[in-house]
Amino acid sequence: MVTGTHPEDFDLFDYVEGDLPARRRAEVEAHLASCARCAEQVALVQAGRDALLQSQPLELPARRRDTIVRNLPAQPKETRGWGISLKHVVAALTPVAVVALVVVALVNIDGSNDEEGAAGGGADTAELSAPTGDSEGAGEALQKGRKDESRRTLLFDGPPGAVALQLRRKGLAATAVGDHVEVRNASRAEVRRALASRRDGSVRIVIVP
């Protein structure tokens, strides 16, 4: 004999997703134990979910991406931002910059070391110091990059599809990508909380900013 009435689709869906409160879950389980039709339906839904979890993300071919960025039309000017484009700003400032450069050059040719010359030299130094600073700090930057990467990666027991599903159930934007899981816009603490029931393992959870 079938126990209780047949649950609605969304009720069975919440059951499959583990979102039902304990009492309702027990009622649905009792029903499923006695109703072959609903039990079969739930099994199909679980099988469909498992198949979808194995689906791999697709990658836009690079040539298509290039076509997109190369062929962007002009943005409508009348409604753009504050009505002033970067091009306009550059166009307006260019004559001023040219005059300033000429003045600085003339002062330097004179060999004088007055305040204007010092300001020009300062500007040159500032411009040149960027690449130098970069090369001096390259090792540091690499180390920082590695630290950042380790801060963005966590390890949990797999499989990746099931980990991604568990994260999504907790409201995080997670996708299984091959042998790892990518989570968007989440903190380490949020990921840890969402996977609290899972043991440490070898599946990498990568937090994507």
Binding site: Q54, P57, Q75
Partner: protein
Amino acid sequence: MDDPDGPLVERAQKGDRRAFEQLVERHQHRLYTLAGRLLGSADEAGDAVQEAFIRAWLALPSFRRGARFSTWLHRICVNAVHDQRTKARRADPAPEIDPTDPQDAFAREELSRELQQALDQLDEDYRAAVVLYDVLGCSYAEVAELTGVAEGTVKSRIFRGRARLAEILGTTREPE
């Protein structure tokens, strides 16, 4: 909640192409996965994604701050997919995936192809629901917003879509 795309969007709204290129870089594969799984054709998916990015670029000045850029972009993509499908229906039957084309992301995996063929047989509403929820990992609220239906309907569509998909694939699991 702060939109992680916010600073780039703000620059792109002022006409900064480099900022928009970075947004393309960031969202291209997700949009292509969405379009690809909904359309089942690499070429059509590429066309839809291209169209979606162009529409987004042109509409950016009117994008209201406070809205989430990625949701807005996904919505544009869903609309572009719909238009692409209408256009393809008027032309020829859906083109076959070319398994010999190394550029074709669909061709690289047997599993993907089998799953794709099953997805192609789903009712469009069910397909959109399972692709957005199970493949892209959108929340119910996002799926509801992107498909224009209530969250209860979203759950029902995912439920039926998954069941139908399993029937097509001929795979069932033992009940837990």
